[in-house]
Amino acid sequence: MTSATAAPAAVATAPRPASTPFAVTPLAVTAVGAVSAAGIGLDALGRAVAEGTAGHTDPSGLGEESLPPRPVRVVPDLPVAELIGRKGTRHLDRTTKLALVACRLTLDAHPGQTGERSGVVLGTSTGSIRSSSEFSLETLRQERPYLVNPSLFPNTVMNCAAGQIAIRHKLHGVNATIAGGHLSGVQALRYARNALRQGHADRILVGGVEEFCAQSAWGWHLSGSLAADAPVGEGAAMLMVEQEAEASAAGRPVLARVLACETGYSAPGRLADGLASVVTTALERCDRWPEQVGAVSYGATGLTGLQRIEERGVRTALGGRSPARRLAVKESVGECFSAAGILQIAALIGTWQHTTAPAGELALVTAVARDGNVGCAVVEAGHLG
């Protein structure tokens, strides 16, 4: 693809090498839904993050297994009956319920029609690890290994939540599940951006979900990958995204613009440089400059080793400067793994609605994982009413 066919004189204001393959079309965010330890809804999240308050800390009612001795953040009183209805929810697991609640909140906030040309791109890591591991355990504990409950089998498949969202809201467009863990948010946005560009849907619910359960709490605790005082959390968040031209033509206010979402992969020991590189690329692809960045919504808060790597990578990309505003959503809602990326964006939008952040503020949303994955989305504040 040739990208710079104009005469050099005509691009004098853009001295960057023309290495980027094509102009990136911004994605318009027209609705947000979030459910977290801060409570149900975007307002609760925005307030908690803006004020630095901790979310709900009592995990009682979430299973009978003993929990590791460490702080937790869980969603209080998930309003399943009110927001999903009572029909057909008996066999749904918590992952799917969290996703369906976040979806309902997002659709309620969306000023337009949804329609069958809508899609879903949902981030996870293993699906519901409680569902799959309990189903597997049954094969060991039952008198015969096959005496499992077949109604629970779909819960063990990672695309269960995305499929349920499509069924309940009749969404026939692209339906993708991204197993990205810490990278789920930026990967889901990249996937959705391409799907919109290719016409696989007219608008897409882009989300992430993670449930709190004893299995993953022990996993975090024993692996040492989370600092001892960092809480294990849960939540789900969703953005309705569409091409900005579509939103504008329909008169839908644009809450935020996703200007770029870039990912890369680094060799061991090169994570900070790798992150700095994708941040730089992301800013180049939307023609913004490091000094324009007003806020950073961090993803690696509380992760052993990674938090400092993330901060160093961002600082490098911003030329040694620290951004004016620093958001650490996990300080309020805990380690939400696959839900974190979209919660980082929801937190930005929530704080934009609650504080006096500069109009049109430019923010980075970053993610880094120990395996080598790094990612960055560039998000700009829109019309926040």
Partner: protein, 407 residues
């Protein structure tokens, strides 16, 4: 509005880790011969299961294939994916350094991710409680490790994306990789999928009444269900111009693809939605139904799948349904890797000139209606020019890719 990238995208490397052998050549020879490579399961204790057959990769030795990563740090599905990717790059005749220096990434599909790792963790839980979970295994459990393993093995610095759209995931991956190369986001993409055998899926499919006892016979009147299976598959995609410039062997061109969602039921497929997906794939590829020479079916071996898939094809192709066969009759259902293996055999069918068979068909089910040609027995010599590769999944996630011979 569709906005297609301008670069033509071709497949120049194929890699397989399967019950039918290691590497695309062994795999293709086995499939062409119509050899059934499913067998009694060894990787988990089958005591108490009435049906114990599956498409298992026996005696897999990851250290024989992997050079960049230490297999001890990665789960079985990641080992499959990374080995298949390594084999694909070697098959493409591409120097590893050239690949790593290029703008290269991977996108891999899966159904159950690192399910074998999760079942080891469940074993520890059952024996000594959750506080006894081995930390190394916890770190290997995320499904996203599958694409990460490919990038780590090959030293790739581009995207490492794992798509968990269940049993159509490899076709999702192939479609996304196609867009990334066509649009100029990447110069090389490894696309495919991986899954491991596990007790829970074996039990689940048995309880759904969908598990065959010993033989998977799609399209046969006496079919009795699926056989679960495992493996890893990878296709190397690059721009046509680049492949020609470096004198690469070009197996096939990726012409287009489509994805959609039934939005009806978690486990029962919907023919109307699948037909819409086929039509959209044809539009994407710029082809008409009469140009399709062969369909590599989803073909799981259940009555429901056969009836739905043939009805969808009939809705699009009318009375002239192209030959439609299922390689699951030989290797079983490799889940997230299944449509990747389908794509691989489509590439070889286009390049070598044959139609892949359906093994074990003795009497094509008359209930499927007239004109269903499942290519029974062994591969049929033919010169297909454009072929269609189906992938359907739990959750109603349909994905169809169209591949063509490069003249």
């Amino acid at each position: 509005m569709s906005e297609r990238g301008t670069r033509r995208v071709v497949v120049t490397g194929l890699g397989a880790v399967s019950s039918a052998g290691m590497g695309a050549d062994e795999f293709t020879a086995s499939i062409r011969a119509g050899r059934r490579t499913t067998s009694a399961v060894r990787s988990f204790d089958t005591t108490g299961f009435p049906h114990v057959h599956a498409g298992e990769v026996h005696d897999f030795e990851p250290r024989r294939w992997l050079r960049g990563i230490d297999p001890g740090q990665w789960g079985r599905s990641s080992q499959f994916a990374a080995s298949a990717a390594r084999l694909a790059v070697e098959d493409a005749g591409l120097a590893a350094d050239d690949l790593a220096r290029g703008r290269a990434g991977s996108v891999m599909g899966t159904t159950s991710g690192e399910s074998a790792v999760i079942e080891e963790l469940v074993g520890a839980w059952a024996a000594d409680g959750l506080k006894s979970l081995p930390p190394d295994l916890v770190g290997s459990a995320p499904a996203g490790r599958i694409a990460a393993a490919v990038n780590s093995e090959l030293g790739l610095s581009g995207e490492a994306l794992t798509l968990a759209t269940a049993c159509s995931a490899s076709n999702y991956a192939l479609g996304y990789a196609f867009d990334m190369v066509a649009g100029g986001d990447a110069d090389y993409m490894l696309a495919g999928g991986a899954d491991s055998l596990n007790r829970w899926a074996h039990a689940g499919f048995y309880r759904l009444g969908a598990l065959a006892e010993e033989i998977c016979r799609p399209f046969d009147a006496d079919r009795s269900g699926i056989l679960t299976a495992e493996g890893g598959v990878a296709l190397l995609l690059e721009p046509y111009e680049r492949a020609v410039a470096r004198g690469a062997r070009i197996y096939a061109e990726v012409l287009g693809y489509s994805v959609n969602c039934d939005a009806e039921h978690m486990v029962h497929p919907d023919p109307t939605s699948i037909a819409a997906c086929i039509r959209a794939a044809h539009r994407s590829a710029g082809v008409e139904p009469e140009q399709i020479d062969y369909i590599c079916a989803h073909g799981t071996g259940t009555r429901t799948n056969d009836a739905t898939e043939v009805a969808a094809a009939r809705a699009v192709f009318g009375d002239r349904i192209p030959p439609i066969s299922s390689i699951k009759s030989m290797i079983g259902h490799t889940m997230g890797a299944a449509s990747g293996f389908g794509a691989l055999i489509c590439c070889r069918a286009l390049y070598d000139g044959f139609l892949p068979p359906t093994a074990g068909v003795e009497r094509t089910d008359p209930d499927l209606g007239p004109g269903v040609d499942p290519v029974p027995g062994r591969a049929r010599p033919a010169q297909p020019r454009i072929v269609e590769n189906h992938g359907f999944a739990f959750g109603g996630n349909n994905a169809i890719t169209i591949l063509g011979r490069v003249a």
